[in-house]
Amino acid sequence: MDFATLAPVRFGFGLSPRAVGPQTVPEMLAALRSDGVGAQFPGMQTGVALKMRVDFVRLKRAERDDEPGAAAALKAHKAALHDALVDSLQLALARAVDDPAGMRERLFAFWRDHFTIQGKRREDYALAASHAEALRPHLTGSFPAMLRAAVLHPMMLIYLDQNSSFGPGSRMARKKPERALGLNENLAREVMELHTLGVGGAYSQDDVRQLAELFTGLRVLGEAGMQFSPDLAEPGAEQVLGRSFGGDPAQLEDIHAVLDTLALHPDTARHLARKLAVHFVSPAPDPALIDAMAEAYLGAKGALMPVYQVLLEHPASHGDALEKVRQPFEFMATSLRALGLSGADVMGLSGAILRKQGYWPLRSMGQQWLAPRGPDGWPEDAADWIAPQTLSARINWALKAPAAIVRDLKRPFPDARDFLPQALGPRVSEALAFAVPRAESRVEGVALVLASSEFNRR
């Protein structure tokens, strides 16, 4: 497939009647360099989210103590926290439909998934939304910087239990022996297994243990967020991957140093290269593509643009076979883009429409917003997303949502025959060209386009 046809399918969110996408790799790279949609649609800031979290705990206490007005205030605050989740979905959709090339927002989704978190408790919903925003400045920058931002964010420290990990020999543990404070290895393990070296990487259980000891001292404190408290840190230096880190006094810089070392390890380069190739190109990518991306990563000391350039230019990325299926969020964003919505349109949708046609259908399609099952994120295989129940949810969404959304925006419903080339460009199959005009209504005609495998594969 030529690059201009392939780019919106494999690297973007499909076609939009509102913009012409990049025709060449240099045009795509140029588009990647600026974050226009991020500036236009700013997201949840960590400071605001931390304050919402503290307020929740305070209101809950007030309600328990039967303070006047507390019950109503808590109810409103609970709703605001849930709104923060739905708002972050709205923002992600708005950015995806307005991103001229689409790839920047696809990368946003990719890295959000690479650094999966989940705010399981209501008080953490806004903080979960803010975690993704903390990654944005680094999407086309350097991986070591993104790793630091992702791992040291209060949401990650909460999600992977760092907040309840203490140096067994720390001052705090020795002062309060009755609390039996000890290590929790969870964050250390996942940083190595998921975020950097990969499960096949060259690390041992000892390395996990040592990294967990090095991480002690990291904690989340109210509105201050991530803090480093030497009182909680295990004394002494730690050996990670054969190198010594830290010592006395324990300091945050030691943790930065070990994260940088992990980020620039050759196993990390391969792990990231493979993950990008699997996500964008194929469940079984050409080893030459992975090698080339890993080499670019190490050569550029973790800068990501050279890696993306290889991904875009490599012949193995240009195969005709569409082996991947759009995940439900991508499917939804690609549909809205094809329908011609602008980011401003998405931001103008009513809360009811967003919930009914956005947040809840994503759950039915198998991808509850910001709530993957485990820290390893969403699955990548096509078969994980296209099962009877989840495909049925896509088809039912394709039948209902477009009409509800254009009605909410007071726009006319498109003619299915015009919509077909608008959505798929030169990729309209014979079967679709046959079927769409024969649908018994315009609604079913548009639904056939959105439900088609041509539209759902990438």
Partner: protein, 413 residues
Amino acid sequence: MISRRFFLRGAAVLGCSAAAHPLMSTVTLAATPGDRRLVVIILRGAMDGLDIVQPYGDPLLAQMRPDLGVGPQNGALDLDGFFALHPAMAGLMPLWSKGELAFTHAVSTPYRDKRSHFDGQDMLEAGTGMDVPVSMIRDGWLNRLLQSMPGARAETAYSVGADEMPVLAGAAPAMAWAPDAWLNLSGQGRALLEHIYHDDALFREAAAEAMTITDTQAAEALVAQQMAAPMAGGTMVTPGMQATGAGAVQKADALAQFAASRLREDTRIAAFSLNGWDTHRGQAGAIRGPATRLASMILTLQQELGAAWGKTLVLAMTEFGRTARQNGSRGTDHGTGGAMVMAGGALRGGRVYGRWPGLAEADLYAGRDLMPTADIRAYAGWALAGMFGADRALLERAIFPGLDLGDDPKFLL
């Protein structure tokens, strides 16, 4: 331009049956997993075992819970002179008399102290102990059973409803369907969809199966409606009717009904959720809803399973119990030991299993919660042993790693 193939496929849509369609299964073996049926209901939010199965014979209970309506004098149904069943579940008493209903009291998972719903549910469904961080758990104990079951196919196990069911998640394929996932396409729309999916096996087979299930559900809803109101003509059952039917009880029943429809066929394991148990305030009112729904679900399963009910076991399990004392807002807070509800013809019912720890201050866990005297996983384990022949080594090493099964409580016939 319309091909003959297209017409034939279109015409076949309404007549298609499960047998005519390749299922989504990736493994197809000749052996079958037997004729026993297991239904696991995850009661999310922490069911108050002390209110559902009230130990009213202990006078401390009424003292600790002055506003929660304790014992037969407040409408609860005496079970054995010591325990009484919550009045909202009165409909289950015939099952109790027949020996098709039982309870286990003072059980819990190994989860302790933090009392978080999410971690508690994760641990209940993972079937693991405190030695594994809950965020590292990737599969559920029912899935690990499937992984070890020769002849298990995707449709051997069904997760029903829109809630994720981590208890069934994992490497072994299982089916998932929500009653409101009905495919709402016209006949023509279906035919055209089959046409455009023809060359893509993944989409073609998933859609074919969705259509089959939708049609089965629609046909069953029609029969049920005709049986319920043979004289009332004119109203046509349409897909989605059950699910949009008013009331949470109907929604819960729709899950049970759909589960039963699968269990009558080749499915042997079904799992679904029942939410709403987190009764922090005004429990006397708040617990009625979920208790009514649970009773109704069990009765729906009994009714819909017909003869298969005799070989069925229902286990309704929750993440932990609630505080022994009522709190300042006439509710209860997160606790530890709780109760499990069991039903089905495969059960040796009509009794309350478990070792009762008592409610005196010294008998409580941390001075506040019912003391767990058994691991709920041991009951689940003995259920899998009796129903599917899982042996002790498999249960203690693979399905519930680290569990000590202990002695067989012999709650199955």
